[in-house]
């Protein structure tokens, strides 16, 4: 007897989580085409709970978004001569430069109104993966203070695990 044509011969039952396959480097970000295919909403997973909403603080600084993705106000360009990726806020007051050095991705982030940061983005062969890490750090309103930035990096960008130093960085005089 012929089966029902509307019932697939093979089906997936249950919730599904899709991640990207980075080959020998393990799991990586899910391909963007799949996000677009499914028209996904975006939220932050933090200890299996939604990240807390952060509103404008007493200093009038813009709230740090729950999702640290780079907004359209960030311009991103690749300098093919130097192999650097430059981020610049639309008004030019904040900028970041990402580059690869000795196999590790580095970033120099200069937010408006805050101290510059040198960030080690880790070791990966994937440009997209490195930029994804950079996006998480700078994907915030540019008008942040160093205190907020540090708090953001530790608590919001989910970089506090895996041996992240617990103490604040010590500013070095220039």
């Amino acid at each position: 007897m012929a089966g029902n044509q509307n019932v697939p011969a093979y089906a997936i039952h249950g919730d599904v989580v899709v991640v990207g396959d980075g080959g020998s480097e393990g799991l990586e970000d899910v391909p963007q085409r799949l996000i677009e295919t499914f028209g996904a909403d975006i939220r932050m997973q933090r200890d299996h709970k939604d990240a807390p909403k952060r509103e404008r603080n007493e200093d009038g600084i813009l709230r740090l978004p729950g999702l640290p993705t780079v907004s359209e106000n960030w311009l991103r360009a690749v300098n093919e001569d130097t192999n650097e990726v430059r981020y610049q806020w639309w008004d030019g007051k904040s900028e970041a430069i990402v580059w690869k050095e000795d196999g590790r991705w580095k970033m120099h982030f200069t937010p408006a109104g805050a101290e510059s940061l040198h960030v080690d983005l880790g070791k990966t062969r994937s440009v997209n993966k490195a930029l994804s890490r950079a996006d998480r750090v700078i994907g915030m309103a540019p008008e942040v203070t160093t205190e907020q930035l540090w708090d953001y990096v530790v608590h919001e960008a989910h970089l506090s695990d895996g041996g992240f130093p617990s103490q604040r960085p010590i500013p070095t005089a220039t």
């Binding site: 039952h13 249950g14 991640v19 192999n83 510059s116 989910h158 130093p165």
Partner: protein
């Protein structure tokens, strides 16, 4: 202006796509730090399957075995297209590389 020196020994935080079996719930992009997070989402059991060349689909097994229509539809269409095109290979769409 002072210059802070920060070294981030960051774990691999990555974006993942969460596709609920319940079609009334929206598909979401979530951040996970690894496969353990996926297991935790599923209550301890998640089964990896591969339907694309550049992604892995973890099916979370629970007591309720509701069919995931969206995920099923996704794996059916590419398979049908590959048969139609007479090939068993998956197109590579990643734009990764090294500088």
């Amino acid at each position: 202006m002072a210059d802070n020196k920060i070294v981030l020994w960051s774990p691999d935080i990555m974006k993942a796509l969460f596709i609920p079996a319940d079609s009334a719930r929206k598909v979401e992009v979530i951040d996970i730090s690894g496969q353990d997070d996926i297991h935790a989402l599923g209550g301890g059991i998640s089964v990896p399957s591969r339907y694309d060349s550049d992604s892995i689909m973890f099916v979370i097994q629970r007591t309720t075995r509701e069919m995931n229509v969206r995920a099923t539809g996704h794996i059916e269409v590419p398979a049908a297209e590959r048969i139609w095109q007479g090939t068993r290979t998956c197109p590579l769409t990643r734009s990764t590389g090294t500088l």
